[in-house]
């Protein structure tokens, strides 16, 4: 009825291959982006910034990174927390060593450092697969956190082992530190996520992405048709770690401003990212965002409804929230094992046929 492609003619390969082939999709996407960039900054306050939007954006970035590795290349990783820590500590060392360096470059360079570390820990993936690789990345998680606790150089010998982000500005407006206005930090995060999600989408549609997917679907077959496993796997580790590192740097510099490794980047965070990717949908850019929204926004929503609206005791509300989120995860995985992204896709297909399904 209102979601159809009739009359929407494609006259070039380019328009035939675009990400949103249906016009309504394109309109919706661009109006959403316009809303996020133009309208939201005027409405945002501290609470929406620090508790809802920035957590969502940062976790989307981390989920994107993990989705490239796990969803597109089929390499299961439990080291996301550790790689986020690498991004955060790289950002900290860069910020304190080069105070005049622009924060955007700091964040991107931190991603680069993480990519190198990721490649190093990706080397075992050339020999081991599946669960065994998951255990190897688990080792990376624990090793990296141990390193950041053990060697005081990483936290500049501070008494508590915490790292604290100094204030940095873009065009004279603070984007890190306590006096940063909410719209500035939000816009910075949003721009980073927008650019990198765009890049990820196009990367996964091109030659590199196809080689990852070939490896994921059957590595021996891929090797026979000429995909080099070394290049494909290591590039997946590099790109994925880059994204996760950027997420870690954003987590530390923009969101929190001060972190300690064990709590902020522990194994829990690795699992959280993995759940986001699985719930959202493996091998889907949209899925990364859906998964992040599911795990970041739902608990906050439940809390606000149960404590803020109903006035229930906080401990009861927390316990119910944990149970509800868990039940919802199981529900969605039973209803659609391929994640929210697949659910969205089915909904769109139904819409296209509506009201005459066959």
């Amino acid at each position: 009825m209102f979601y159809r492609e009739a009359g929407d003619f494609k006259t070039s390969y380019r328009s035939d291959q675009q990400t949103f082939p249906i016009k309504l999709d394109r309109v919706l996407f661009w109006s959403l982006i316009a809303f996020a960039f133009v309208v939201v900054p005027f409405l945002i306050n501290d609470y929406w910034e620090k508790s809802i939007l920035i957590p969502f954006l940062v976790w989307s970035m981390a989920a994107l990174g993990l989705n490239i590795l796990t969803g597109y290349c089929g390499q299961v990783s439990l080291g996301t927390g550790g790689f986020m820590a690498v991004g955060a500590y790289a950002a900290y060392k860069l910020m304190t060593a080069f105070p005049e360096l622009n924060i955007v470059f700091v964040i991107i360079l931190s991603g680069g450092v993480t990519a190198m570390v990721g490649v190093l820990f990706g080397l075992p993936s050339l020999r081991i697969k599946g669960f065994y690789l998951a255990v190897a990345t688990l080792a990376a998680q624990f090793f990296l956190i141990w390193v950041f606790n053990k060697f005081p150089w990483f936290y500049n010998y501070s008494a508590s082992g915490q790292i604290t982000a100094p204030e940095r500005t873009i065009f004279g407006i603070a984007v890190t530190g306590p006096s940063a206005p909410p719209w500035a930090t939000y816009l910075l995060c949003l721009s980073l996520v927008f650019v990198f999600a765009w890049a990820a989408r196009n990367l996964t549609r091109g030659r590199v992405g196809r080689s990852w997917m070939a490896i994921r679907d059957m590595d021996i077959a891929a090797e026979i048709i000429g995909v080099e496993p070394l290049k494909a796997k290591l590039s997946a580790f590099a790109v994925s770690s880059f994204y996760v590192g950027v997420a870690g740097a954003m987590y530390f510099t923009i969101w929190f401003g001060a972190v300690e490794p064990t709590e902020a980047f522990g194994i829990n965070q690795s699992f959280r990212a993995l759940f986001m990717v699985i719930i959202g949908g493996l091998g889907s850019i949209f899925g990364s965002f859906a998964g992040a929204a599911f795990l970041v926004l739902l608990p906050v929503l439940f809390k606000n409804v149960m404590v803020g609206q109903f006035g229930w005791p906080t401990d009861l509300a927390t316990h119910i929230e944990i149970m509800l989120v868990g039940a919802l995860i199981i529900f969605f995985l039973i209803v659609e094992p391929h994640g929210l992204a697949r659910l969205w896709q089915i909904a769109k297909e139904k819409l296209r046929l509506w009201p005459f399904p066959h």
Binding site: D46, Y47, G257, E260, T262, G266, K303, T314, D315
Partner: protein
Amino acid sequence: MKLVRIAMVAAAALMMGAAPALAELVFPSLSYRTGPYAPNGIPFADGYADYMTLINERDGGIGGVKIKLLECETGYNTEKGVECYESTKGEGALLYQPLSTGITYQLIPKGTADGIPIHSMGYGRTSAANGKVFSHVFNYPGTYWDAASIIVKHILDQEGGDLSGKTIALVYHNSAYGKEPIRTLEELAKKHGYKLTLLPVDHPGQEQKSTWLQIRRDRPDYVLLWGWGVMNQVAVQEAVNIRYPMDHFIGVWWSASEHDVLPAGAGADGYKAIAFHGVGKDFPIYDDLKTHVYDKGLAAGDGSNPGTVLYNRGMYAAILAVEAARKAQELSGAKDLTPAQMRDGMEALEIDAARMKELGIPDYGPEIKVTCENHGGPGLGAIQQWDANAKEWKLITDFIAADRPVVDELIMEDSMAYAKENNISMRCGT
């Protein structure tokens, strides 16, 4: 269209809910009643809430203005703590007491920027004791570094004043909290000539077998414990298992509640810890609490905690907050306070023995006098010991002063580094 209308109604309802109908003094309580730290978080939150209820019920609030307690569950998790801070600060929050060093570190810059005072009572960033640098952060009546030096002083007493050649092991929660005392203990090791061994335990602290195996092998002369939550119970139990002499095992004030020692049974007898306030129910204030709170069925939680160490501490936190609010009302002449007035009240806070008696807590803690320069309070602590047969803590020393020269120098060094990093200019006219 319908959706828009619902959203507008909801937004209007929220706005109306946010606007206070009557003047109220808002005290958020960032508590944790769930997760691995709940055994410690619950009694503290109950004590805090019950005292606030008492003030409302008995006195009709502070200076006639009712207290509104906003409880928010953090689970001792920094991320949730920040969410709690952001969601409650808009409601006119006067003071934050997050009961978590990790959350305190987050709130120090945020609270200072928003002009809301933070009181990290005996936890948080030790160097915040320097009021010249930290305008909105208070950690009276004592800091971790005071605690570490007082414990070392107690050990010195036991050893006849000489620690050369002795070994002290520190079993600590591997977080900002647990790492706080290390610098002081290292400094004191240089001064007194003992050897310090560091044994970190990762969150949540249930896995300590290897730690205690190492202690069993090395047999340090003393073991200090900087734990929290389930980690405390496990540490005490493990110490009992390896038959470590319990009177050589000393905890910080956060590793010193009934919950921590009871599971180890008779074996825990003789375990020591430092304390900065009185223990037990033997204070006149408990009569008032019974009349105005417990008997009316207004007690927070399940009502099983009154008299425990952490309940008393939560109550103490509330007492100090209420006293500071009184001081703020007196200074500003206003009944309905702003966070800025509250901050001034905290900075002018004075509690002497006579005032404690009036409050129904005679000799409960050391006398407190906060000044612009000193936000860390007197820094006194007493040693308490667990009596497993009577199932109660007993103070076995008077309040001991910390090793001021060592601690003050460290506080100065660390706070100056912070001031330099964040371009803070000194306050207090110097």
